[in-house]
């Protein structure tokens, strides 16, 4: 198979674009898609410092690599979840990447900070592991970004992540989640760090191919807690549709973004004030993370 652009030997065929590309042309394609996502969605500019949430997986490391190559100002943030070998290997991959690129990396380890890993915290509070983990991640991304002076947090969510989440939200008619499902979440006038997803135009397979082609050493193993997670079922369904009808995921998610969103019934003003325990903004008296940790302490 030949590259559509330059006739060299192709390394990837992308049915949804009806094209095949060589390594060099594919890298250009990925860089273009990310740059386009950043500028069209007004995510950030080259004067702003971006905190990249890096798990050690393909998506976040590919994202960090692309942002560095495109000349953005970045630092990495790795949360060590304290899930034995899996977390240790993940941290090693992230550290090796940061060192090879000579970039700043912030590591926050739950075990050191709280004496417990995410699995124990979930068990102590009787929360499903992925839900407790999500609460903790969102909290730390925001708090560490604000404390360290990063106006923006970037995560490696790709097209498959967003399309499968949209499918889940539509199937359950989770309307308040639909409103929030955007590649950019505002900082609400500096209350939060802005949350952005610069890979939302790239299929998961493309993000993985980018990591492989650029010799990025990432953790291939799945988080041991996510086996059988619902998102994986939705992704599988969407990929089956994609095989019979290439472009389905793109049309589904980008079509959703183009549509005017229905306004929520009645104005839903969120009054935020500082959490009594940690000072982070919250609509309640104590934020979700501190409530979780209070239950652990009991």
């Amino acid at each position: 198979m030949k590259c559509r652009q330059c006739q060299q030997s192709a390394v990837i065929k992308m049915e949804r674009h009806n094209t095949s590309l060589c390594r060099g042309c594919f890298n250009l394609y990925v860089h273009d898609q990310v740059e386009r996502a950043i500028t069209e969605e007004k995510m950030f500019d080259r004067a702003e410092s971006v905190l990249v949430a890096v798990s050690g997986g393909k998506d976040s490391l590919a994202l960090w690599d692309v942002l560095i190559k495109l000349g953005y100002r970045t630092a990495g943030l790795h949360l060590n979840l304290g899930i034995n070998d899996y977390s240790q290997i993940s941290q090693e991959k992230v550290e090796a990447f940061a060192e090879s690129r000579g970039t700043e990396l912030i590591v926050h380890a739950y075990q050191e900070a709280y004496g417990l890993g995410v699995i124990e915290i979930a068990e102590e509070t009787a929360r499903p592991a992925c839900s407790a983990c999500g609460t903790m991640k969102r909290y730390h991304f925001n708090r560490i970004a604000m404390e360290r002076g990063f106006p923006v947090v970037a995560t490696g969510h790709n097209l498959d992540d967003e399309a499968s989440r949209l499918l889940g939200n539509v199937l359950q008619w989770q309307e308040e989640y639909l409103e929030k499902q955007s590649p950019v979440l505002s900082d609400e006038g500096g209350t939060w760090a802005r949350k952005v997803k610069p890979l939302f135009r790239l299929a998961e397979r493309e993000a993985a191919a980018y990591a492989v082609l650029n010799r990025i050493d990432y953790i291939v193993d799945e988080c041991p807690m996510s086996k059988g997670a619902k998102m994986l079922v939705y992704k599988d369904v969407l990929n089956r549709l994609e095989e019979t009808s290439p472009g389905t995921k793109h049309r589904f998610y980008l079509g959703f973004l183009k549509r005017p969103r229905a306004l929520p019934s009645g104005p839903k003003e969120l009054h935020l004030h500082p959490c009594q325990s940690c000072g982070q903004p919250t609509p309640g008296e104590v934020c979700g993370f501190c409530r979780l940790m209070q239950r652990v302490a009991r």
Binding site: A10, V11, D59, T155, C223
Partner: protein
């Protein structure tokens, strides 16, 4: 020894031996693996679905789907 291709698979991690030559698209179909959810790596190289894998070659079929945001 009979010449054969070595295929490295995940979930669970294992290796299988198949008789070559075989085209990547055929290999994926026979193993019932979705093209959109896998990369095929031959040696160090990413290969497209029309590539024919020969006996004595080592191939990794790497899943690309994960829980999200990784």
């Amino acid at each position: 020894m009979i010449p054969s291709m070595k295929i490295k698979l995940y979930h669970p991690p294992r290796e299988i031996i198949l008789k070559g030559p075989k085209q990547v698209a055929v290999l994926l179909r026979e193993l019932n693996l979705a093209k959109e959810a896998h990369l095929v790596i031959c040696g160090e190289e990413l290969v497209t679905e029309d590539r024919v894998i020969l006996d004595d070659q080592v191939v990794e079929i790497r899943p690309v789907i994960s829980g999200g945001g990784g």
